[in-house]
Symmetry: C2
DNA sequence: AGCCAATTTAGAATTGTTCTAAATCTTGAC
DNA sequence: GTCAAGATTTAGAACAATTCTAAATTGGCT
């Protein structure tokens, strides 16, 4: 896992947001910290709850706004698994998500090096790969 | 595209539903027909509107129930693209979905024959592959 | 200092989905 | 055939996730 000093982190945020025409605000910083702190693919609601601990006045709408801002500037990714709330992930390395149907944990998984081959003329921007199944721990227990 | 006679179709539905302990009802038949008729990955709401044309008394909840029943018995798949309504697809051959960010059309795409390699002990049940980008037509126009 | 645009806030509104309870339909046992 | 048990449908309420709105706040920039 890549680590950065708080200073590097802040600079990185400012740059990435700036490139999209957005500012680094304390709220965006906070939301980003929440994502980096515990990488368990929280929903917007969960991010809200965690951010509130450090910043009690933060509002619901702001968390959505911040998450959008982070996604737009390439600092976080949305993870969509089935119906239900969207989850967020600060790991920007190309990867997929494995969802355990038993314990509901979400794992990051590497993608096959080979790119998906698309029909002629199609341009891929990003991939969203979700795999549903049973994780090693749950498979063992059963 | 595989085609079946109405009789074969009905038998196929009865069998697949039956194997999951469910019945073939006129509503389920209708919802399945809607999916097979125009394979543009409609949302539940769109399925509802189309089904209503042939069966005006069908209710919202029934459409959800029918779609669930079809998914559970392996007659249709859910397609989740970003936030927003879940879409449905009667193509049960393993495939991914390409979503054009310009015209919003959803295309079925083949998957690389090679399976995703998972960490030891993980058992995959099914894959959900969404690719976001620009389709050939839209890329040309621009 | 003062202005303009970006951002945040609380809460209302909207959207998509699920739940509930009553009515209806099927199926299998007799 | 008839009846009971269970599955399914229905309308509408309830719920959850997200977006919108309008007003207040903040942060540069001249």
């Amino acid at each position: 896992m890549k680590t950065r000093s708080p200073q590097q982190d802040e600079q990185h945020l400012t740059e990435q947001l700036g490139a999209t025409g957005l500012r680094l605000t304390p709220q965006r910083q906070q939301v980003y910290d929440v994502l980096r702190h515990k990488r368990d693919h929280p929903t917007a609601e969960e991010v809200f709850i965690r951010a509130k601990k450090a910043m009690p006045e933060i509002s619901h709408a702001t968390v959505y706004n911040c998450l959008d801002a982070l996604v737009k500037s390439g600092l976080a990714r949305q993870v969509t698994l089935d119906r239900g709330a969207t989850r967020f992930c600060p790991n920007m390395i190309e990867h997929g998500h494995f969802h355990c149907d038993v314990c509901a944990t979400v794992f990051d998984v590497d993608l096959p090096e080979q790119a998906m081959k698309l029909p002629k003329g199609f341009k891929a921007d990003h991939f969203d790969i979700a795999i549903h199944g049973v994780c090693a721990d749950c498979a063992k227990k059963k």
